[in-house]
Symmetry: C2
Subunit: 161 residues, 2 copies
Amino acid sequence: MFSKATEYALRATIHIAKNSSENNKLGLAVIAAAIDSPQSFTAKILQLLTRNNKVISSVRGPNGGFYITKKARKLPVRAILEAMHEDKVLEKCVLGLAECSESQPCPMHSQYKQIKHQLINLFENKTIEYLAEEMTEGITFINNKSKKIKVKIEKPGAKKS
Amino acid sequence: MFSKATEYALRATIHIAKNSSENNKLGLAVIAAAIDSPQSFTAKILQLLTRNNKVISSVRGPNGGFYITKKARKLPVRAILEAMHEDKVLEKCVLGLAECSESQPCPMHSQYKQIKHQLINLFENKTIEYLAEEMTEGITFINNKSKKIKVKIEKPGAKKS
DNA sequence: ATAATTAAGGACAAAAATATCCTTAATTAT
DNA sequence: ATAATTAAGGATATTTTTGTCCTTAATTAT
Ligand code: SF4
Ligand code: SF4
């Protein structure tokens, strides 16, 4: 659905929203490790998100890093897609037609349009903050590592299954 | 959502389903023109759809071309995605996690899973035939040309319509 | 002031997706 | 049989996406 770049952008932003504040910034290395993404590529993406004071903010130097402002937390998730210039996928025709309209609908239109509207609503109505809270609830994940597998030697009995 | 290749595959298959039969095959040039796609690239895609008697069929030589069997018409639209090896996008995590599960959900899971299921249902329950019929209803489009601007001079009577 | 730290940004590399071209194989019409 | 037609398929080119590396700029700690 989204490009790798946008997936990383979503994960990074959510992680920053959950784990940072103006006086507790996160460095690139920490973020990339947390969301399981290639570091240098992630740097580019964080730059995009930061440009023009968009979704996240940054400061250089010791104790510098990335963080998100109170205000930015209230942005719809769609703002992340916009920063990545990938927000039009939400409106895009599944058949790839140049535009979607009631007057020139594709054969999937009548079936797909409702799904499309739900998608758009999701990305426009839910805020970055909301997703971070979903994480705080404790049981959602943002990387591919099973939990945090530092259990090592397992004693018989206490299995996570 | 889908790659260009898959978009062309969807459009091509729908067009073939609407306009062909075993004794009225469509040539590459006709198909590519009808769905507004690059001809040579479309050839590759039609090959993929044809391989192993998958979604569409073909014969070479004069009066040859592509067509779709009665049986293939009944296939779910998902079969097209499968032939293009792009069916997993339906199940894919919007955040790009390796897998989606209730036990390891991403922060968008609770909001997105319903949309996802509708998407999967759409592609699994609707058949290729159904989409072709949507077209036959008369008012859906499969290319970017406004209507069919080749009105030119029409002889009344025996055209292949 | 100097050195250390950290993001910004340019240049480049690798891989994947998109697209074209040409030759070959199958089929049909003559 | 021969020639014409049409898809199959290989090779190659172009563009986009993904990714790395290195230098520069900003900031802070000492
Ligand atoms: S709604 Fe139908 S027409 Fe409009 S874009 Fe989606 S699919 Fe194409
Ligand atoms: S449902 Fe939630 S977890 Fe499962 S994939 Fe979609 S987004 Fe990720």
